[in-house]
Amino acid sequence: MTDSNEEIPSTDPAFSEPWHAQLFAMTLGLSAAGFFTWTQWTEAFGARLKRDGAKRPLDGGADYYGVWLDTLEDILASSGKISAEERAQIKAAWEAAYLSTPHGKPVKLQR
């Protein structure tokens, strides 16, 4: 976790949130599997960073990975791999699972 009042230490963790790591690794995995080249990825990501960065300065932390996530969702939607509807459905299912699972029990997706 980062704290806005703290300077970045020299040994700051690679990822400040688990989802950053998950997202990074999924994107690398998809590229390695041939779904897109890394050049295609950086071009799409760079264009989106530029667009969003024009609206508000990005600090390189959670907002950076937020743009990364938007880019990956777009690429997967435009290539027909995962539609926005599919995303909405599974996300709602996860939310329901989290909210209905008693504290201390593992959260599982209801089928």
């Binding site: 976790m1 980062t2 806005s4 703290e6 300077e7 970045i8 230490p9 020299s10 040994t11 700051d12 690679a14 990822f15 400040s16 949130e17 688990p18 989802w19 790591a21 998950q22 997202l23 990074f24 690794a25 999924m26 690398l28 995995g29 998809l30 590229s31 390695a32 599997a33 779904f35 080249t37 890394w38 050049t39 990825w41 950086t42 071009e43 990501f45 760079g46 960073l49 300065p57 990005l58 600090d59 390189g60 932390g61 959670a62 950076y64 937020g66 996530l69 969702e73 791999k81 995962i82 599919e86 995303r87 599974i90 996300k91 996860w94 939310e95 989290y98 699972t101 504290h103 997706l109």
Partner: protein
């Protein structure tokens, strides 16, 4: 753990990395965390990614890959003139031999600091970075502030990192791409002539290899990393 007071970003580049939307329930993950979980669920269900491969990537980039890799390369270059010459002309075979080649097909170029020229690396497009040598880039490297200002005002940025260069030393800024990523080979500090590679590596900070810092005596930190 070392705490090197100069090997961090200036305050204006400091992270404010909180998720903006606080979850309404304490055990409900943040919105982006849920969206990432959603993508992963669907990709695994469709057989498009292997969860074990994803876990292995996370493990590698969270713990095994970091600036210590680049530091080994720099220390070896300081100690071995043949290695240094080969590294500057074509680092790929040497890095492959050391197991430090990335999977994105990127090419690493090593740029050497000299009394006449200091080198500094940025990625104005996004955050291209020599991952296998330096790990995941620090937050400031990914910030708009650094990405814009490194090109426009490199000396100003360097000053904020506590680096003041002599007047006669020019600054060259290298803009990374998906295909070409840069590693700065800093100048070997005076007084390190008797040190071996392992001891030399302790002088090589992450920022020294990005060009926003200079090598630091490990004695200046609390302890050697």
């Amino acid at each position: 753990m070392s705490h090197d007071p100069t090997d961090h970003g200036p305050d204006y580049l400091a992270s404010h990395g909180h998720d903006k939307a606080a979850p309404p329930h304490s055990h409900l993950p943040s919105d982006p965390a849920l969206r990432v979980k959603t993508l992963e669920t669907i990709l695994v269900q469709k057989g498009l990614i292997d969860p074990a491969a994803i876990d292995a990537l996370i493990e590698t980039y969270s713990t095994r890959v970091g600036p210590q890799n680049g530091a080994k390369v720099v220390a070896r270059a300081w100690n071995d003139p043949d290695f240094r010459a080969a590294l500057l002309s074509d680092p790929t075979p040497l890095l492959a031999e050391m197991g430090l080649i990335g999977r994105q097909g990127e090419h690493v170029v090593v740029v050497e600091n000299t009394p006449a020229q200091h080198n500094m690396v940025v990625c104005t497009l996004c955050s291209c970075y020599p991952w296998t040598l330096l790990g995941i880039p620090p937050t400031w490297y990914k910030s708009d502030a650094y990405r814009a200002r490194a090109v426009r005002d490199p000396r100003g940025v360097l000053a904020e990192f506590g680096v003041t260069l002599p007047d006669g030393q020019s600054v060259r800024v290298w803009d990374s791409t998906a295909e070409v990523r840069y590693l700065v080979l800093p100048m070997r500090p005076a007084g390190t002539e008797d040190l071996g590679e392992a001891q030399l590596a302790a002088w090589v900070t992450r920022n020294a290899m990005i060009g926003t810092g200079l090598p630091q005596s490990p004695a200046q930190g609390e302890a050697a990393p």
